[in-house]
Symmetry: C2
Subunit: 356 residues, 2 copies
């Protein structure tokens, strides 16, 4: 499908922020991609317009009943000046799975990727050149029909906004502590845990506050039924290397199917390193820390790519992993993925898409 996109350029471009001080999600570019949906016309009026506030009726259903899904991916500048996306087709597929779960209208994969390529091309100057920095891309759909009553909305807005972001941990990989949460639950089988929806984040804020008070950067979520099996970590999937083997929680319906997770599994297979997806009891992981068989632990997600876990806070004490240092495999995966993303390593798996 070729979509026709109307482009209205901004008359006054913003100054670009200092690439050393980008942080995450604080700056937004000059333009945004928008497209509307209603039941009569389907998706229509694809356009790139100046980034500006949008008008919504106070009764717009997104404010009341939570129909809101999103994606997160990045554009990277290569040394030879090209701009690459990392596996946008995977985000497109997950976007549609989220739509389906929340009774929202899907966007075909090609249109989704084309919308992103188009807005990134318009904002090419915003893709940072600094190593480790990138342009974070946030596609989302929200329900706009002004009506009260619990049912799917009849109209929606699809938007893509862009934010230049720094290296998540400033100086590269820095191990973080994670707090095992035993009271609060993020999601449960039969719920919406595997959809990327606003509704999945708000419940976790309280647990995050408690984790911060225990000197932890993130929450490790357990399953909602038995509160025994590991699900994920904050906005990351999680991996453990135990006795030379890598293990990650199997997708069970309440875990987000991360693109970075998929990529890590694939790379490990390529490298001939054993990797399994399975149910993982937190007690087994803590026992492996104790008996020294747990060699490395790391989180995976678009924002930080690979994030070494330095310690697990559980039952009131911190269980230090790999002396709080970054493991060898953790580094190797980080270098491999960020290398492919930035076009520095050969992309033999065909993961990158040129924006040109």
């Amino acid at each position: 499908m070729t979509m026709s996109i109307r482009i209205e350029k901004s008359g006054a471009l913003k100054p670009k922020p200092d690439e050393d001080k980008l942080g995450f999600g604080s700056y937004f570019t000059d333009h945004m991609f928008l497209m509307n949906y209603d039941t009569d016309k389907g998706w229509h009026d694809a356009r790139i317009v100046p980034y500006a506030p949008l008008q919504f009726d106070p009764a717009a259903m997104v404010f009341h009943y939570g129909q809101a899904i999103f994606e997160g991916l990045k554009a990277f500048r290569t040394n030879d000046g090209r701009i690459l996306l990392f596996r946008p087709d995977k985000n497109a597929q997950r976007f549609n799975r989220s739509c389906e779960r929340l009774c929202m209208p899907e966007i075909d994969e090609e249109t989704f990727v084309e919308a992103i390529r188009a807005i990134v091309r318009v904002e090419a100057d915003w893709v940072p050149a600094k190593a480790g920095a990138s342009l974070y891309i946030r596609p989302f759909i929200i329900a706009t029909e002004p009506a009260l009553g619990v049912r799917p909305s009849k109209s929606y807005l699809f938007a893509v906004i862009l934010s230049p972001v720094g290296n998540y941990y400033g100086e590269g990989l820095k191990p973080v502590n994670i707090r095992v949460e035993s009271d609060f639950v993020r999601a449960v089988r039969g719920g919406i845990g595997n959809a990327k929806t606003a509704a999945n984040y708000v419940g976790g804020l309280k647990a995050q506050e408690i984790a911060a008070a225990d000197n932890c950067a993130q929450v490790l979520w357990l399953d909602g039924v038995e509160r025994k099996y590991i699900e994920e970590v904050g906005s990351m999937n999680v991996f453990f290397k135990i006795n030379g083997k890598v293990i990650t929680p199997a997708l069970n319906g309440s875990i987000l199917d991360g693109v970075t997770r998929q990529s890590v599994i694939r790379l490990l297979e390529e490298w001939g390193i054993p990797v399994v997806e399975a149910k993982i009891a937190i007690d087994d992981v803590l026992a492996a820390v104790k008996d020294g068989t747990l060699e490395e632990a790391f989180g995976t997600g678009t924002a930080a790519v690979i994030s070494a876990v330095g310690g697990l806070h559980a039952n009131g004490s911190m269980h230090v992993i790999n002396r709080g240092e970054i493991g060898e495999l953790t580094s190797r995966l980080y270098d491999a993925i960020t290398g492919i993303q930035a076009g520095k390593l050969e992309d033999s798996l065909g993961w990158t898409v040129d924006c040109g």
Copy 2:
């Protein structure tokens, strides 16, 4: 506390809709109440302004991470022309419990009620005179800070919008069928099921579609852990009369603490009818339908007040309750509550608040 409220009247009032065709949540009045929050100033700039679209940055956190809570209550016109609210203090309290759970700033009870009284006074002409009709009041708070990253927003908007609504079931009480949902789950202990947040509704849309296909108006939710115990019904709490005793699921953290539920329990106590809050297994209820001891079943909620359950659809078949007719206690409760709300019956429990 007395809040100073700036009032800006609309220049062009809308025509009032036909009171026989109001439906639910389709019409909105001429004005709305707004108030802003930021971390420096706290809640400020309370104002009543013409009902109109609001501007939000596309990165406003409500669209991405789900910080959105709401309430629902009604204003009623009495025969002698006064306007009454029903237990708004209960909504104020629940609003703040929702805020607390979702790391959002609370609004003191008095301010909450005063805001509602003020906007309802301005819109007094919108309170329907027709019996059974009322003015539905929707207070809500949404996160407005434009930033990506999972953390509590630093700014919020509190709004109160109003919608004249008809008698929920046109001709008064009409029994509805309810589908027992055994796959999808609304909420789980440790989650946010007892908060009134947008995030709790979106996951249920799919189950609602399936229920509609089975000729059911609502979904009966079971607990997320054992999928065995009854939680609630669509946007209502649920009661069963078995062998002369009334029973309703105990509040367990994943059920909304309904104001109508509280009122029903209180009235039953006043009337000397045994009522218990307990864990209720769906199998026990189905067995009671079968052996004829289940006399009545009804849902409770602000929208429909009391809603007779005519049948439970479970395991592929419909289990008819009380021959599909409205039970005696169900009617008595409906008459009592709607009578107090409309100022027709004596309000000996002090539940109504005059807007004047």
